[in-house]
Amino acid sequence: MGCGGFGDGEPMRILKRLGLLALVIWLAASLNFVLPRLTDRNPIEEVIAQAMGESGGTMQGIDQIVAAYEARFGMDQPLWKQYFYSIWDALRFDLGISISFFPEKVSTLVLEALPWSMALLGTATLFSFIIGTALGAATVWPTAPRFLTWFVPLVMVLAAIPFYLIGLLLIVIFSNWLNWLPSGGGYSPGTIPGYSWSFAWEIFLHSLMPAASILLASIGLWALSMRGMMVTVQGEDYMVLAKAKGLKSWRRFWRYAVRNAITPQITTLVLAFGNIVTGAVLVERIFGYPGLGNLLYQAILVVDFYLIFGCVYLLILTIGISLTILDLIYPLIDPRIRAQTYG
């Protein structure tokens, strides 16, 4: 095997990984189909009862309407047929029509909510990863400034507090007491969305507190795990060799210590991106943020099979594909894995 290249077994390894990805997606999609249907609640009845009840009607003809909508959604078909249609549609990325937002397409709803979650959670996750990892690595590096060690107890405390509690605290301090930041929403009521700096500023201001709550709660986790890895790495022979060779401290820190300690962090980072779809439900609820977590929450409330499937399918694809890509590029990041894989 040439340095930096792939071995002869590489195409087969890629094929195996892709096969595994397909299997994981199929299994997860099947579970995603089955689990919401285990409830004895009927989403169509939920929507209809809500619509009719609020209209002060006498509930006339509810069975007739339920039957009509079940036929529209194919829910009058045998379950196995519904299953095969569902999987076939999912393979074609046709996520169907939402029951609770009928006749809106699930894909439209998901694509509308996704940018908000991407902007908030993608940025917050990346920032907390970068800051937390750097902080965790630096706190145990002998030549790092001493004040960095003061952060350890602070981030440990913050890591023990759920991010939604931090969120509430931030609202009280920065919105209610100081009145510096908006308490929630994607932008201020009445703001006209547009490609302008003022709108970008609005979005930025409104994302500050939700992002900060995620950041503050997760920096500690990144820092603590990185710190542990750095302690282990510092005892390795190659670190002793690097020092003996007279390499500068920053070079040993970044190129030898951090690079070797960071691999498990990257795996965790990829898994953390799954939270972009689901993990922020509470934060989005607290800050009234119009993202995917909020959409999934609404879907679950009325057991909207198709919308739940759409949101969770996105999660499955995100995590499955990210892990596969990570698996494939790991040998490039960590030469030890390349050595183990190809001998």
């Binding site: 009840g53 009607g57 006498t58 009928f102 694509l111 991407m118 009521p189």
Partner: protein, 591 residues
Amino acid sequence: MKSFRLLALGAVSTVAMLAIVSTASAQSIKDVPRERTLVQMGWSQGAPTLKTPRNANYYNLAGEYRNGHMHHFEPLFFFNNFTGEVIPWLAESFEMSEDNTSVTVHLRDGAKWSDGEAFDAEDVAFTYNMLLENGRGTGDMRKSVEVATQVDSVEVIDPLTVKVNLAGPDPRYPFRQLINYFGHGLVWVPEHIWKDVEDPATFTWYDEEKGWPIGTGAWKAVSAAPEQIILDRRDDWWGAEAGFRDLPAVERIVSIPASDNTRMAELMINNEADATMSMSSPALVERALAQNEALTTFTGNEPPLGNMDWWPHALYFNHAIEDSPFQDKRVREAVRFAIDRQQIIDFAWDGANTPNPWPYPAYAPLVKYMEASEDIVEKHRAAEHNLDETARLMEEAGYEMSDDGLWEKEGECVGGPIETHQNLAGIGQIIVQQLINAGFCAEFSQTPESFDKFRNGESVWHIFGHNGGSVFDPVDTLRMYTTPNVMPIGTSTMFVARWSHPEIDRLVAEMQTIPPENFDEILPLFREAMDIWFGEVVEVPIEQAYHLVPMNTTYWTNWPSEDNPYTPPCISCFISGWGSYLPHNLVPAQS
């Protein structure tokens, strides 16, 4: 590596920003100053986003036009539930035939759709015929089955006169489908557009390029996204042109998601919003009023900080469960004696509510019926809290007090989870504690599934309001307790007692033939029905329902109040679109 991360970060944020903007708006929108903008909260079921913002079809079952789209549309008549006044709007008057089998409606001359076409009898007839066809077929449009049940046919007499032939005599018909208030009333669609719609049940009626929806209302949407719907005033509104009313002062309506109670309060305190949806916590409303002097309520700063709604709250028994201990009337009565209404109100409402042994709201037209029947309440001791009576009745029913302080028979206690509507959790916990203190093994239950459980008849007892009940005469509430409205377990219903009585069937059938204004004729029948109802201890009414709606006087004044009760203050509470009347009456606070 560092620059790559920053690049990735920037890319993610830029793509997200572009996507947010592209989904939010597709057209340029003029500037309107805040002091001419009404920021109201639209129905969002607790979510931080509006439901179905690009669906303005009232008849689509998942469509939610209380999100703001209701301001596009106008009814034939509004109604003032506080005074009993019918407010003519797109129509000028109606008259029932002598035998109450038809109603003739006279439309207002000069009413127009927003595209300039005249609103006329053909539009009313078209809407009816569309609903009749759907209701007699698939029935998958809101209200269509209801219309098909109550209406036989519709005739256009001339462009301004339309006659609705009913399926049977019904002197209350105008209050069911022609007058818009609470959940009642229809929404009219323009024939010249809807006649080409292939499937009106799935039609979304929203397309900015085509200028849809076309309504007769004074406002029109210029942008609709899950975060907000913006509607701008149409300076060519027919009402001003026809000399019916002045152009409203509200130049822009921004409808934002009501989200949750805390968020509503925050937006009001910060003057970011002018009116909320109904809030569920009097304490929170009180705190919001204390933090912003510009805020007010229907009753100002005084309790109950709101206006009376149409669904008084009650503890219901599920009469359809055959092996329930509540099949024994003595047990139901024992529960009734165990409830201390005043204590519930003192704890849950800080005293800001009214104990109510009736299943009726205390609206003026109904109060006279209740006042004339107080002796029936006294006869059945329906308002009394008396734990000695609870003990006597339970012993009479064969129960013994266990060492745990619970009434038991054959080792079984009486009770189980009380499924509670989410808005009533505050009173639910107190009711449960009172019942435990009285020896019932009650448990408080408020989960996302509670509402479904009691709607589907899976709960033994539950706490809910009287949705769809009476407003102007006692018939509608009594209809809840008639055989056709008792659904079997497993079928969802809002009439959650699942109880009826042949005598009440007969009395209601008779009452329905009498015009609602004939108090003297209805009263004896009402008394007879209520004597049975209280005697059978159908449920335990608890208290009145209030809508707690803070309103902001920073930018707008002339909000509805006790002194000026022209309409309920909750703009987006009612599926009839009733709230669209309110912005016509607001006066700018700043010149």
